[in-house]
């Protein structure tokens, strides 16, 4: 049963520390998305890749966030330095030309 895999599931860190979240998209999917979910803002799009190329990262704070796809099986989202306001659940999703997205279970980040 193909699924999007995200690690870590939970991360507690202190302000100023670097956080890296990883995502393995479903094999054969050519688009990868990073979303952030909070109670206040809901699901917000942070970054979007197609065929490993970044297409849109306008939703991402550029000074501290970076997203990459070093290969087709791995997408990363890095926060450096982390701040308490970054506390949220970060979701990775992948898809193809049928339109629907397949989400991972999320990485819950708490920055103290």
């Amino acid at each position: 049963d193909a699924r999007v895999t995200q690690t870590p599931r939970d991360k507690v860190t202190e302000m100023g520390q670097e956080v890296t979240m990883r995502c393995q998209p479903i094999l054969g999917h050519n688009t990868v998305f990073w979303y952030r979910q909070t109670m206040m803002q809901g699901l917000e799009l942070l970054a979007y890749f197609r065929n490993r190329a970044p297409l849109d990262d306008s939703g991402m704070p550029k000074d501290r966030f970076s997203a990459e796809m070093p290969d087709a099986t791995l997408a990363t989202l890095k926060i450096q330095p982390s701040e308490p306001r970054d506390s949220a659940v970060y979701f990775c999703a992948s898809g193809r030309n049928t339109g629907e997205l397949f989400f991972g279970e999320g990485s819950r980040l708490t920055v103290l």
């Binding site: 699901l43 979007y48 979701f91 992948s94 898809g95 030309n97 279970e105």
Partner: protein, 115 residues
């Protein structure tokens, strides 16, 4: 500015009744609209997709309508069950071409089906 609004944050209905959830949007011209289900602590799960030239789509007990004139989609769950209790999210694409769409999500409606 672009906005997606889903009706009331929470909706409670009695088991066996039909649940109707609303998604209204402004300043979008979506090529299609999608509905997702999200359970606590889990990622959203795709349910249905409806294209701008489709009026209605059905899947088992689920039905979605899409009115591009009213800029509204209705999501119905017939013969609702307690297991249908979850948060339901609507999502619109930005109308760009290409493969898997860049979706923007509404804030969701939390549905509780009472036994």
């Amino acid at each position: 500015s672009q906005k997606i609004e889903q009706n009331s944050e929470a909706l409670n209905i009695q088991e066996g009744k039909t649940a109707t959830l609303t998604c209204n949007y402004t300043n979008y011209s979506p090529a299609y609209l999608q509905w997702y289900r999200q359970d606590p602590g889990r990622g959203p799960v795709f349910l249905l997709l409806i294209r701008e030239n489709e009026k209605e789509k059905r899947k088992e007990r689920l039905k979605v309508t899409f009115d591009t004139t009213l800029k509204q989609s209705l999501f119905h769950i017939t013969a609702s069950q307690p297991a249908d209790s979850a948060t339901y999210l609507c999502a619109l694409d930005k109308g760009s071409s290409g493969s898997a769409r860049q979706l923007t999500f509404g804030s969701g409606t939390q549905l509780t089906v009472l036994p």
